[in-house]
């Protein structure tokens, strides 16, 4: 089951990456401005490529953007933008949580020297972003997909194997028997008759 799983996620990844390439054509500037002496504003955008997954409607209202593991939590505006206010200069971590998608955490360096200039790097892929536009690395499917009905799946099941074995015994064994030399067969049968059916009790010496 695992290999099948992996291949689907790989396909999703490829799809995502294709959409990433398209997205890069439309760039957005990082707007970052100093608010006061030591606190800055980080503004970014979350983009979810349409039609990557079936069933998961990209609802912005349920997406959370989290700074530094829960220090600040913010939500997306209808256009996908989010803002963290009053962020001190330093290196921060931004995570995006949306059901049905996996986002890489983003390392964000807010420079004190350049008046709050923001530098962003995806920590998972180590790719640096020219602007803070966050896209999912891959779509997540929480359920196992049922495999469609096929004859093979029935044959592979324990029941199918049992039936298959029975078929083999029923149709192939007589064929095998035919190939045996009749005299040899006879002698073997006589031998069996003389010895009787070997039973468990006969094997145990104590029972005698």
């Amino acid at each position: 089951m695992a290999p099948i799983l992996r291949s689907t996620s790989l396909v999703a990844l490829i799809v995502c990456q294709i959409s990433l390439i398209f997205l890069f054509a439309s760039t957005l500037p990082i707007s970052s401005g100093s608010e006061s002496e030591d606190s800055y504003t980080i503004t970014g955008r979350v983009r979810i490529p349409a039609s990557t997954v079936i069933g998961h409607a990209a609802k912005f209202s349920n997406i959370k953007v989290i700074l530094n593991g829960g220090q600040h939590v913010t939500f997306l505006r209808p256009d996908g933008y989010f803002t963290f206010h009053k962020v001190p200069a330093g290196t921060h971590l931004i995570e995006v949580y949306a059901m049905g998608y996996f986002f890489s955490p983003v390392r964000v360096d807010v420079s004190a020297r350049h008046r709050g200039k923001v530098q962003a790097t995806l920590t998972e892929t180590r790719r640096s972003l020219t602007e803070l536009v966050l896209e999912p690395l891959r779509a997540e499917q929480y359920y196992e997909m049922r495999e469609p009905f096929s004859v093979m799946s029935i044959l592979k099941s324990p029941m199918g194997l049992m039936v298959g074995f029975m078929v083999v015994v029923v149709f192939l064994m007589p064929k095998l028997m035919e190939n045996i030399d009749p005299e040899e067969m006879k002698s073997a049968q006589e031998q069996m008759r003389s010895q009787g059916v070997p039973s468990l009790t006969s094997l145990l010496p104590a029972s005698r």
Binding site: E35, T41, I66, N68, P88, L93, P105, R107, E140, Y142
Partner: protein, 982 residues
């Protein structure tokens, strides 16, 4: 033989990479999810003629939600960050929900129908202060509708349309705290009333267009104000002075300001400390004096006059305009097991518009808050509905003399969880007639088969779901053979104990803690923790199991504790006692008395320990083990861990024979300049370890160091104790210790340079897994430490075992210096973590899974084999067979391994696991704002057939085989006959 088969089976099962996975149609079969919001702080009704009727609430769990007024369901909700407490909520422009949070610095607007955030504004704040949100209804400034916000010393006017700050007024210099924003109708001037140092009342008249102060009046009130305030009209407020004995009416008509003092003793004879109940009543004031509620009318010149009084405790709503320029308010008071809801006109208190009496469950406690709303009935008269918040945090809607709906919001603040067995089913009763006829049985299984082969139509799918729920019989209130049906006991912050059924999550019983003495000081204790008190299994079988609930009166650590013993089957309190000392630590001891009551030690703040139950039998059991009882305390602020041993009986007047003094045995002091304790953890005391040894790939044995007395401690540099981003990698380091709690010996120390907390850890068997932040890589990391016993490593030789020259039977003592060695490995992990737990099974045979509560409020099941320190880059063939996974730098996040599948446990705080009777299966219960329960089989259900098992296919196969045998028999007969003829 059976064991060998079993073990091979186990090996076979564990060799495949397993993950918890679920088909979509299986969701909701074994799991359930309940959504809550928490105790309601503010409520705003939105009941226009068109559209759905809803109420917008904000809660103490930092939730803003829109509820359906008809059924109480959640339309939408948002859980804000933990530090983002909501200060106010309002509706602007009839389409936006406005919330003010973070002490008045974050203002957000949410779309009313769907909860989408529309805009967000960060407001400048300079100091801590009370914050205030005011959404004027008909204030309009140049096509814009300003929202007035005060917080942190600044007054802001913010546009309701886009969140733009229109103007800002700095009040930081004077230390002015705004109490009320009043707006006379038809004028653009707003009145801002506030106090300076709570002794000077100031009224500013501000032009709402530009934010300029038009006029300012102030007056010093020598006595000072208490801070309680009630608005009575657009130009008058009543405040209480700091002695709580004088009511001061502040009028500010036409730029003037005037005080009028009225001592409470003038209004009522038996004066005492007064409390203002109402926030907003027109020309009226409700004051609570000596448990009596007084309705005070405020006259035109600020003259106060008592018009009515109620003897019982009363909760009040704000007043609401009803027809004919009149205002009405609702009040709720108790009388026995009933509550009375009254709606009166403010001007004519004799005119009771509505009087309803409703039977109320005693276990809901008193009414805390009332929110009133009116509607026009078909006969054009006024109808009223009231939303009430009870003492147990539950939310109820009252309308037409009945409870329309109720929500058990106490479950949003679960503090402790334990599980309990259900009563045994009586013979002949538990065997339910589920399948009626063979035909129906077969039909059901054919349907299931169709479902599993993806041949089912949508109607069939529905039928299958129904069938599954019905046939599983999971909702019965009796014990089942597999131990799947259990009670989850959840203690909540308001001190209410709930018993939830694992089958569907319904509340079997609930009980509100009561103070045993009914004293004035402690009316309702807070729930702290929950312990298994009596679990009868060998002796005392006819007794019902019971749990111990430890509660506390008040919030400080020295507050006296309350013990309550609750019967698990019935939910009735057996007894309760006011123990007269504080509760710092509760220690269940591994001893039980003849009635299977577990002995508990409770440590108080003065260093004494008290034994419970207070019986002579318990005392004699304890005296026998007196020398062997050790305990430890962690003083995280000072960086000290102390070990204690029993010393003797307490001396003193109040002491009884169940009180003992202790002696300090050892201390571990962490240098305060370089290390600060951020996390401590021990093993679960009831954990079962199946095997002491671990067989390596090369037939080598490793002995686990399994000790109940190990303490995991994580310390971090003081600079790194803050949030991520506040420290550079050079400044912070993380050190973890494994400490023996009997001797205080440090068994292992591991330091991580350039790392910081928060540390989330889990301790099971002989391993610890912890999650922390690596500042150099700027990623989260997970490290596993496994601890093995070196002293027993010599026992590998078979001959030694045969000749008895091993030390396996030698008693293990903590006094001897243990020869241990550890193995550890670290991996990256791509998510923040809120909590980690581990699965637990009945015998401990089944492989373990880590349950990681991620910051996205999902729970990820990660096989323990992913955090095995023996993982290498290229495992040998033998190692692969053993199930060792090739080493990767990152732990995988497989979406199908989320046990919560498409749900979120909003505000996740804890995960509790409990074994079922079936070895392969474990119960998992997660709590936060939401509750989630599921059953997990970490190595799949190897010891029972799954629900999916198709009996129909088995039957069909057997039938086919029988038919084949018959046909071949007939064929062979024929062939034989023809041979004989030949």
């Amino acid at each position: 033989m059976a064991i060998r088969v079993f073990l091979t089976l186990l090996l076979f099962l564990s060799s495949a990479i397993l993950s918890f996975s679920l088909y979509e149609d299986q969701a909701g079969l074994t799991d359930w999810h309940q959504r809550y919001i928490g105790k309601v702080k503010h409520a705003v009704f939105h009941t226009q003629k068109t559209g759905r009727k809803r109420v917008i609430v904000s809660t103490e769990e930092n939730v803003v939600a829109s509820l359906d007024l008809r059924h109480g369901e959640i339309f939408w909700r948002h859980v804000l960050g933990t530090k983002d407490a909501i200060d106010g909520v309002g509706i602007a422009l009839g389409k936006y929900v406005i919330t003010l949070s973070s002490e008045g610095s974050a203002l957000r607007a949410w779309n009313l129908p769907d909860g989408q955030m529309v805009w967000e504004t960060s407001l400048h704040t300079a100091q801590h202060s009370k914050s205030l949100l005011s959404v004027p209804i008909n204030l309009k400034v140049d096509k814009d509708y300003p929202i007035i916000v005060f917080g942190g010393g600044y007054l802001h006017a913010v546009s309701a349309i886009d969140g733009e700050v229109l103007w800002k007024k700095d009040f930081t210099a004077e230390g002015f705290e705004v109490q009320r924003v009043l707006q006379p109708p038809g004028s653009s001037i707003i009145y801002v009333l506030g106090f300076i140092n709570s002794s000077e009342a100031v009224v500013y008249q501000i032009d709402s267009k530009i934010g300029e102060v038009v006029a300012q009046k102030s007056m010093v009130f020598p006595g000072g104000f208490s801070g309680e305030i009630s608005s009575v009209s657009s130009d008058k407020v009543v405040v209480l002075d700091s002695t709580r004995s004088i009511l001061v009416t502040i009028g500010f008509i036409d730029g003037g300001i005037s005080f009028q003092k009225t001592p409470i003793s003038d209004l009522v004879e038996d004066s005492g400390k007064a409390e203002i109940l109402s926030a907003l009543l027109s020309n009226m004031l409700a004051v609570k004096v000596n448990k009596r509620t007084l309705f005070v009318k405020v006259g035109g010149e600020g003259k106060l006059e008592v018009v009515d009084s109620l003897s019982d405790e009363t909760a009040m709503s704000d007043s609401l305009p009803v027809a004919d320029d009149q205002e009405a308010f609702a009040s709720v008071h108790h009388e026995g097991s009933k509550i009375h809801l009254m709606v009166k006109l403010v001007n004519e208190l004799d005119n009771v518009l509505l009087k309803e009496t409703i039977q109320m469950d005693q276990h809901r406690g008193r009414v805390h808050k009332v929110f009133m709303n009116n509607y026009i009935r078909t006969d054009r008269s006024n109808g009223f509905r009231a939303l009430i918040v009870m003492e147990d945090h539950s939310l109820l809607l009252l309308q037409q003399g009945a409870i329309v709906w109720s929500r058990e919001e106490g479950l949003a603040s679960v503090t402790d969880v334990t599980t309990a067995e259900l009563p045994l089913g009586k013979d002949g009763v538990s065997v339910a007639k589920v399948e009626h006829t063979l035909f129906e049985w077969l039909k059901g299984h054919v349907l299931k088969l169709k479902g599993s082969l993806l041949l089912a139509s949508p109607e069939d799918v529905v039928a299958i779901q129904e069938l599954r729920v019905k046939s599983s019989g999971k909702n019965k209130l009796t014990r089942d053979h597999n131990g799947f049906r259990k009670l989850i006991l959840a203690l909540t912050r308001p001190g209410k104990l709930f018993a939830l059924h694992t089958g569907d999550g319904r509340i079997v019983w609930s009980m509100l803690l009561k103070s045993p003495s009914n004293s004035q000081a402690c009316e309702r204790p807070n729930g702290i923790s929950l312990y298994q008190w009596q679990v009868p299994h060998h002796h005392a079988m006819d007794e019902n199991p019971s749990v111990l609930v430890v509660g506390k009166c008040g919030s400080d650590s020295s507050a006296p504790g309350v013990l309550s013993f609750v019967d698990v089957y019935t939910g009735k309190e057996i007894s309760s006692s006011d123990i007269g000392h504080s509760v710092v630590q509760v220690m269940p001891l591994p001893f039980t008395d003849s009635t299977e009551q577990r002995l508990h030690l409770i440590a108080d703040t003065v260093g004494h320990v008290h034994l419970y139950p207070k019986t002579s039998e318990a005392l004699s059991i304890f005296q026998r083990e007196f020398q062997n009882v050790y305990w430890y305390t962690v003083e995280a602020d000072d960086g000290i861990i102390r070990g204690h041993v029993m010393k003797g009986s307490c001396s003193g007047e109040t002491a009884d024979e169940y009180c003992f003094t202790t002696r300090e045995l050892w201390t571990v002091v962490f240098p305060s300049e370089s290390e600060k304790i951020i996390s401590t953890l021990t093993r679960k005391p009831n954990e079962v370890v199946h095997t002491q040894a671990k067989v390596n790939a090369d037939q080598d044995l490793l002995y686990k160091y399994v000790s109940r007395n190990l303490l995991f401690v994580a310390t971090v540099s003081p600079k790194g104790a803050g949030e991520i981003g506040s420290v550079t990698p050079e400044e912070s380091s993380l050190v973890v210790y494994l400490i023996d709690t009997i001797t205080g010996r440090i068994l292992h120390r591991l330091s991580h340079q350039g790392c910081q907390g928060p540390v989330h850890a889990v301790f099971s068997e002989n391993w610890v897994v912890y999650h922390y932040f690596n500042l150099r890589a700027h990623k989260y990391e997970v490290t596993v430490v496994e601890i093995y016993d070196q002293s027993r490593a010599e026992n590998k030789n078979v001959w030694k075992l045969i000749l008895g020259k091993h030390n396996l039977t030698a008693p293990i003592t903590s006094y001897s210096r243990p020869e241990v060695f550890t193995k550890s490995q670290s991996y990256f992990f791509a998510q923040s973590v809120k909590t980690i737990a581990v699965t637990s099974t009945a015998k401990g045979i089944t492989s373990k899974q880590l349950l990681i509560g991620t910051i996205g409020d999902q729970i990820l099941a990660l096989d323990k084999r992913f955090v095995d320190p023996r993982r290498t880059l290229n495992p040998s063939q033998a190692e692969k067979e053993e199930g060792i996974i090739p080493l990767t730098d990152t732990l995988p996040i497989i979406p199908q391994a989320y046990v919560t599948h498409s749900h979120k446990v909003e505000g996740l705080r804890g995960i509790v696991t409990a074994p079922s009777k079936l070895e392969s299966t474990t119960h998992v219960f997660a709590y936060g704002v939401d509750l989630f329960y599921t059953r997990l089989a970490p190595s799949k259900t190897y010891d029972s057939l799954t629900d999916d098992f198709s009996y129909a296919l088995l039957l069909i196969t057997i039938v086919a085989l029988v038919a084949a045998i018959y046909i071949t028999w007939v064929l062979s007969e024929k062939k034989e006959l023809s041979e004989k003829w030949r």
